[in-house]
Subunit: 286 residues, 6 copies
Amino acid sequence: MFYHIKELQYQAKPERPDPIFARKLQEALGGQFGEMTVMMQYLFQGWNTRGDGKYRDLLLDTGTEEIAHVEMLCTMIARLLDGAPVGDQETAAQNPVIGAILGGMNPQHTIVSGLGAMPVDAMGNRWNADYMIASGNLLADFRYNLASEAQGRLQVARLYEETTDRGVKDMLSFLLARDTMHQNQWAAAIAELEAKEGDIVVPTTFPRELEKQEVSYVLFNFSQGNQSAAGRWAQGPSMDGKGVFQYVECPFPFAGKPKLKPAPPYIHDTPPAAMRQEEDVPPNLA
Amino acid sequence: MFYHIKELQYQAKPERPDPIFARKLQEALGGQFGEMTVMMQYLFQGWNTRGDGKYRDLLLDTGTEEIAHVEMLCTMIARLLDGAPVGDQETAAQNPVIGAILGGMNPQHTIVSGLGAMPVDAMGNRWNADYMIASGNLLADFRYNLASEAQGRLQVARLYEETTDRGVKDMLSFLLARDTMHQNQWAAAIAELEAKEGDIVVPTTFPRELEKQEVSYVLFNFSQGNQSAAGRWAQGPSMDGKGVFQYVECPFPFAGKPKLKPAPPYIHDTPPAAMRQEEDVPPNLA
Amino acid sequence: MFYHIKELQYQAKPERPDPIFARKLQEALGGQFGEMTVMMQYLFQGWNTRGDGKYRDLLLDTGTEEIAHVEMLCTMIARLLDGAPVGDQETAAQNPVIGAILGGMNPQHTIVSGLGAMPVDAMGNRWNADYMIASGNLLADFRYNLASEAQGRLQVARLYEETTDRGVKDMLSFLLARDTMHQNQWAAAIAELEAKEGDIVVPTTFPRELEKQEVSYVLFNFSQGNQSAAGRWAQGPSMDGKGVFQYVECPFPFAGKPKLKPAPPYIHDTPPAAMRQEEDVPPNLA
Amino acid sequence: MFYHIKELQYQAKPERPDPIFARKLQEALGGQFGEMTVMMQYLFQGWNTRGDGKYRDLLLDTGTEEIAHVEMLCTMIARLLDGAPVGDQETAAQNPVIGAILGGMNPQHTIVSGLGAMPVDAMGNRWNADYMIASGNLLADFRYNLASEAQGRLQVARLYEETTDRGVKDMLSFLLARDTMHQNQWAAAIAELEAKEGDIVVPTTFPRELEKQEVSYVLFNFSQGNQSAAGRWAQGPSMDGKGVFQYVECPFPFAGKPKLKPAPPYIHDTPPAAMRQEEDVPPNLA
Amino acid sequence: MFYHIKELQYQAKPERPDPIFARKLQEALGGQFGEMTVMMQYLFQGWNTRGDGKYRDLLLDTGTEEIAHVEMLCTMIARLLDGAPVGDQETAAQNPVIGAILGGMNPQHTIVSGLGAMPVDAMGNRWNADYMIASGNLLADFRYNLASEAQGRLQVARLYEETTDRGVKDMLSFLLARDTMHQNQWAAAIAELEAKEGDIVVPTTFPRELEKQEVSYVLFNFSQGNQSAAGRWAQGPSMDGKGVFQYVECPFPFAGKPKLKPAPPYIHDTPPAAMRQEEDVPPNLA
Amino acid sequence: MFYHIKELQYQAKPERPDPIFARKLQEALGGQFGEMTVMMQYLFQGWNTRGDGKYRDLLLDTGTEEIAHVEMLCTMIARLLDGAPVGDQETAAQNPVIGAILGGMNPQHTIVSGLGAMPVDAMGNRWNADYMIASGNLLADFRYNLASEAQGRLQVARLYEETTDRGVKDMLSFLLARDTMHQNQWAAAIAELEAKEGDIVVPTTFPRELEKQEVSYVLFNFSQGNQSAAGRWAQGPSMDGKGVFQYVECPFPFAGKPKLKPAPPYIHDTPPAAMRQEEDVPPNLA
């Protein structure tokens, strides 16, 4: 169960309105790696954790904090939209600055949300749960979390470079720091689980003898050129300590050409007669 | 540029048709972490790599292999659908086995694809590019790749448990092994880049002094109970070696309550009069 | 900012596992009118409210409660999935009960979420923000909230009818009661705002003289038959008290046929010559 | 069955082309609350009505009119796009007005639709049926209709403010008036159904004694601060006349902490051993 | 503008309810090539036609008819759902026939639509405008229409094979016949436009000398094996009568390897140093 | 199985960066009719072909080539983005040219992809498999392919008109030529299959006597005005040679008004009492 206090976790005050940047900042709120994603992802992972120890607690600590980040971003975006201009081509033609703003802002910020934040990314795509995962396997999920925080901090860093507003930069500096913590924390949790489970290959519980082990440590060179042969992944012991990397310069197929049976008549695929007939025609290439 | 040969990378022959399993196996083809995802993800990452050395080559090696995995799965699914039954409630009522099959299969496998594989997951959601990322930052992307392979191998392992068909299990054992390699390979590439860039926090190029460093290594206990305090992430040196983890049991807000300005009249939000008036009413709680 | 406690707002314990019902219950969690929708909707509406009085507070009270409902549903669904069977056509054929379960459950509950709840509806569609709105106009939004709670309670009532499990019914009886409150509360807030704003037509701030008032209270009979003429909406004073309902039995167009200009050549639409030429052909109907 | 006449219900002629406004006006055509939504929503509700009296007729009257509104908007958008400029950065750089237009218009209006209207909103999101509902319960649906018309008229009013074109404003004044009627008409139908069904809580047919009635009229104060206690929803008789509103300042949970059972091994979630082990570690917080 | 009459274009009465088939029949209503698609597609194409001659009229004739087909399908689906069973695992276990029905039907038909048709396909995906096009170029659009009718009739034919209900088959026989007409009609319109425009390659107005004509009639053999050389497309005059088909057995690239420049520092891509460094490492393959 | 070589099929070098055009060119990469669509479409059609003759080979030849087109477009877009400007409203205000670029470009090209191509269209919609089909019936699919190539070439021609960059135009001239070939090739394959199958109405295998043949060649005039009567589709022998086109000026319905039965109580639709009661009210229209 949750409680809310009205105070923000960190201040969210721009120096001045900037509807173009409001649109861009939506990426950090409702984008693929925005705060809505990590909020829902950590909460679902926490609620679905089977066992109620420290991992569940950590997920719910962090998921609950992320709701506060969503709140900060909504507040900041609403303020960046204060008094946003409206207007049509006439307006745009009269004042190039207003024209540029009208071109660069998200028109739904006036038409749909009435100068409020929206659950969308910088191109107006609505947030959706395709962005998140809660698999029941914490090592898999913590890796996804670490990856999400890496992508998320990268995007916030880019947004930091795209504004001159000190108020915005101040809030972003807080989010950047939290993303630093979150990358560190998931890295720690991953290290601990890898140690406990005794393997780095997820799921660690699947018996290795059931996989086709002759290809478990092989790099196939499917893209012409041998640059990739120079990497750590092409030689030496494998990262999981259970094999040795090999490099196969000219990969061959392990199987023959597939041939599918015709479909039954009630499916109304191309009739076999039409398919068979064609092969009677002699090819014009010797 | 690409060339195709008709041979499959590995055989894809089930012992017998099984349209229920065909539907499930779609997850490994067109699901969030299916082969279509990693195929498009590695190819886009490779094509967008700025610099043409071994990382680009590795991405294109692997992306090109994944197209072959998509091909294998399409072939397997088509064969699992051979002669799939059709029928309505009458049919279902007469034979419980047929009834169960009609209930458990994806009806679009007969209606839409004519017994062919579809670019969908096990619930029929069409594949979409929300599942993938190519960010231009390889450390961020390799982490996402490692996470994708972990989720992907987890799903293939679960599918392996859900079938008794030796032909299907044989093909899955190949995919499991390749996912073992891919987890190892991205882990190796990550280790190398972390070493080269001298940090584990993505992006490593953003100056740390610009982030709010006092919260860069702090775990805030937003979910009541101290279990998470017992973790590695709450004490000792941080994973990036640049700080010390701290645990804050009772996190307080850093900022006050936000108050947004009224919108201009042309926005037609709730008029300020209606908002203001309400606050004049004395609260009924002392 | 938010705090979480581990206790659930209300108990979420089924009498027995039931993966078929777990799938159905997803509608109340991640469907169009599920708890994720109202949670995000109320929070966004609250955060975007310009003015910080009782409406903002009410929205955040309710939005925060809804996070707890999402939590309860996740917990219930995970328990309904306890030990869910896996298996293929062979399994289904051997035991009609298992066959029916395999047919009726969501296979992603084993393959993707590992027996955890997912952010999806009963057909596996991922939750997305198309389901919600925060417009900045509270009267418009409270109406949408009332409508969402009506649809939501309707669905929960239907789900109540579709299970025999007393534990599930108990939790649903709690959600039904809360939806009763929420319908009452939004109805109260709507009545208050309508009174304050002095109109029921949203937005109340748009000057009525700027709309084409001759059609502001007219029912046009576009579907043959006069049954709709018998309704309150076709006669008597309008609900906003500003007009009188009229019924037009044979609605005529107010304008002529449109004719669009040809596109410029650089657009490569059908060339005007091809369009013009055709009209020279004498019609074969006198 | 339907018949079409070529005349428009109301004229749709702008004074001059304006591709920026064409893009914005798409919101009223293909957006969440645009004319496509209400058209499909009313038609589906009408066709699904079980009983063929005045409600079905009213829905089909209105749904059929909405097709004509879609037609008017398509015509207006095509005319706003007449001779829309094309060009790249060079062009934009040479003429700031053209630059602003190129920035502000939807480039798909030239590339994809050849100067025609598209089934999209102002940010180019394709229309989809997530926007609509037809539930079989008319009171629930009429509330959703009233809410949709409120959001829709709000958006049209905002669009009216964003143009100086008298032709566009003229057409919008017609749509505004029709939305006035539609809000009045759904309000009338709701009042009638509430009276007939003897309750305002949807569905009115679900026995109240089956819900957890002790929480049916309670406002839980989950967001710190008592402003919401001052509202009508926190005191006095409930709107449905069946209870009395109560305000709970410090809401407590009704249930304990949930604990989920481990998953069976074939699911490959985090192994219980890895979960259990962790709890042996003594917490570092007294 | 449109008028509706209550009569159906053709009868839509099943012999008996069948909720499994109701779910499947949704494909013909709200699927990729269902009636909603062609309805919206033809109407948008008609409204966007620049010029108001016979093509516009034909599109609006057909689009208006398709609304009636949507109406028929909604009616049929509602009747197939009459009295659909509800129930959970207990119910399913007691009666294999009910179990099969519960497994095979769409549970949203009870939970969401209350036994009404939904704007979804057979897997519950909501209809969306990605399925349709109106490009402004009628030859391009008529081809898309012909293709849509071919896919649509194919699906209806498959559905015809999947039911034993004579009432359903009767209605499908009407839709099949109309699809026969529509395939014929678009074929006729295509033939006429190809003749008028003097070419079959869309857009016919783009000057051929601006394309790289040396590859305008070449089949590149990118998939090993020469079977495709035996086709009409690999030899003889081209279908547009402007060239001669050629077959290239071993296609070579026309360009070299691309090398992308590093990104500027403010983008925070992988730093060039990390990229460059790697290439200094001597490859381990001679 | 596939092999990749590093060389591009054709050069992809712009004269200068142009982030506005980069955004537009995304349509040809990740749009509804972009190269990703035809690539996945042809590959799936090829892999699903039941029979392994020349049609399968042709599909795989062409699908494999399209991967190379995706690669070329990614490369071109990355180069058009070289050194793309970033900045906020301040920047836009200072320099109208930069302002226009910031307004016209896709901000995700800096924030999300780090100056790389994305799997999106010109409005930032992510690519999804709704755009493609593989039905198992090659005549249906080849028609869809021809239509896709027509729409695709039309869009590339429009893009060609929207740039002044000779490098971009050069690459587009190559794509235009290939689309010429592909339109010719699918036209040839269609002609061959129509001849072999002896009909043009897909599926040709469905017995014509089972369709309602009296409406198989009738044009119903549902849109007032007889312009469409002047077309080839309204008179003379049908295109399939099996009937004669007829024109029906005043189409009448073949069936009566539908009346749906009430839903059972457990569905909680509007109660029949509320529906019935209303019809007792005498209509106010004589």
